[in-house]
């Protein structure tokens, strides 16, 4: 049991965090280049090998590690030194509750590919998010610089506002799946539903049998399209990357909260943002895009289809690989979507960010909760 948890944690740390986070910096450079009709990162090389610019993350780390680590005079030294750590650690440990595979039985033993599976999984993510705020706020305060302080102030107001709406925008999903456990949520999405079934439920019409074949995967995004948009917006605002980068605001307050940071401590803030991009992608996948499930092919179908010819163990192995590939594919799609949004939209002014939160997203998410509740009531319980 304990060994299983350690193996899964190491897998997450090595594959997801250490392996994918640097690649995301490369994706960002290359995608921005493509969108702006440039070539993008292609110069850093090891012995002439550039790997399409994939050597750049390596060069970044070397540069940041070899730079001087400055603590400004008049700064609160302890706070200045630990703030980047407070910002980066929550991003990494948020992965603990994200399932990267389903529940399988192999050799009579049942195992679930998620490091920790508490009953209150999604609430854990929200709790972690509220602790992560302190990294930004304290970095802004401890630097003893007015621009940093302004960045910290903006960050505290923005993140606290968006945390409220972030919680409200997924209440609809809680109601649909009636669970907070992320693994259970994905198991519920590992299914299909009849597209025209709602005509029967809501209007009492009879649907011809041949339309039953028109099916969609039972993903959260199809049950809660508005919830998907709202949650993506709020969680991207929590990550404070452009267009929501008011705490940094290069054109207004220089670099905001990390203005006085240099070397790898700046690198940690940088890393935290990119790991959060990954966390957001994994979370959106898990909640709204069916997590590890393969669309239109449930776990039973896959295992049942292969087991007859090749045996149970082989079928389970294939199923695990398919599920993991499906999960990673969706995660990469969500990363791409975030990058595309980041390089498409112009940045908001600070008051526009707050208006968007309190005047648009909050009423919409409350309306979403009421409409979802009404539909569930009409349908007679959760479907």
């Amino acid at each position: 049991m304990l060994i299983g948890v350690i193996v899964k944690s190491l897998f997450i740390l090595i594959v997801m965090v250490a392996g994918l986070a640097p690649v995301i910096t490369w994706i960002e450079r290359k995608q921005s280049a493509v969108m702006q009709d440039r070539i993008g990162a292609n110069r850093a090389d090891v012995g002439g090998i550039t790997l399409l610019g994939l050597m750049h993350p390596l060069a970044d780390v070397f540069k940041l590690l070899s730079k001087e680590d400055v603590v400004p005079t008049g700064a609160n030294r302890i706070m200045h030194l630990i703030s980047p750590v407070i910002a980066a650690v929550p991003a990494v440990i948020a992965f603990a509750v994200v399932p990267f595979g389903g529940v399988y039985t192999l050799g009579g033993e049942e195992f679930s590919l998620v490091a920790a599976n508490p009953d209150w999984g999604l609430l854990y993510i929200f709790a972690i998010g509220s602790i992560a705020m302190y990294g930004t706020v304290m970095a802004g305060w401890s630097s003893n610089n007015n621009w940093s302080l302004l960045g910290g102030l903006r960050a505290s107001a923005q993140m606290i506002s968006y945390e409220v709406t972030m919680g409200l925008s997924v209440v609809g999903i809680f109601m649909v799946f009636s669970t907070l456990q992320l693994q259970d949520m994905v198991v519920a999405q590992d299914d299909t539903f009849r597209v025209f079934g709602f005509l029967e439920v809501l209007f009492g019409l009879s649907v011809p049998a041949w339309l039953d074949f028109v099916r969609l995967p039972a993903w959260g995004v199809f049950y809660q399209p508005l919830g998907f948009v709202l949650f993506l917006t709020t969680i991207m605002a929590e990550n404070k990357r452009p267009p929501f980068d008011t705490p940094e605001g290069e054109s207004e307050i220089i670099a905001g909260y990390h203005l006085e940071y240099s070397g790898m401590r700046f690198g940690l803030f940088f890393m935290a943002e990119f790991i959060e991009v990954l966390v957001i992608a994994a979370l959106m996948t898990t909640i709204f895009l069916g997590g590890w499930s393969v669309p239109w092919l449930t776990t039973e179908t896959i295992i049942g289809g292969i087991a007859g010819v090749f045996g149970e163990g082989f079928a389970t192995g294939i199923c695990i690989i398919l599920h993991f590939l499906s999960f990673m594919l969706k995660v990469v799609f969500m990363i791409w979507l975030q990058m595309a949004l980041r390089w498409t939209l112009p940045r908001f002014r600070y008051d526009q960010v707050m208006d968007l939160c309190w005047k648009i997203i909050l009423p919409l998410s409350i309306a979403n909760v009421f409409v979802t509740g009404g539909i569930i009531l009409l349908a007679g319980g959760t479907s």
Binding site: Y124, Y134, M138, L149
Partner: protein, 166 residues
């Protein structure tokens, strides 16, 4: 000692130490607030050991996160310096803290004289499902009264803010 007992004493020590740190550092408001965060998180750890998972998460989200961030926001907005707290005010805060501490200590000593054995927990105790059902059946009146209070507070804040703008 069992693992939960070790964890309990670790969290309890952390909570008490950071609470003392909060009072001692009264001159440095931000450091004081950060000590408060550590106290809140340590308390959340104790709640997890007591199987009250929902309360633990809410403790971190609301008290550890939102409320102290708002404290920090106000402190940073006012840009308080350490000399804004005169010796008289510091003495007052420390006296109040000492009085509360002595009261809590005597209360604890009284309790230690005879604690009954804890009854077994009911099924699903402390989960969001059970707490939610209890809140919206047995305590629904209190929930509604609390929401009315919050609405009144929001309206009051709006009126105060609007008068300044006008």
């Amino acid at each position: 000692m069992t693992v939960p007992a070790v964890l309990f004493y670790a969290f309890a020590a952390l909570a008490v130490l950071s609470a003392i740190g909060m009072v001692v550092q009264v001159r440095n408001t931000v450091a004081s607030a950060m000590s408060l965060v550590i106290t809140m998180v340590a308390l959340a750890g104790i709640y997890v050991l007591l199987e009250a998972h929902l309360v633990a998460v809410i403790q971190i989200m609301v008290y550890g996160g939102a409320i102290v961030v708002l404290f920090l926001f106000v402190v940073m907005l006012l840009n308080l310096r350490s000399d804004d707290f005169g010796p008289a005010r510091q003495r007052l805060v420390r006296l109040a803290a000492a009085a509360i501490g002595v009261f809590a200590l005597t209360w604890m000593l009284r309790l230690f004289s005879g604690l009954p054995e804890a009854p077994p927990l009911p099924e699903g105790f402390g989960g969001y499902r059970e707490v939610g059902i209890a809140l919206y059946t047995d305590y629904v009146l209190l929930v509604e009264v609390a929401s009315l209070l919050l609405t009144a507070a929001i309206v009051g804040a709006l009126i105060l803010a609007k008068r300044k703008i006008d």
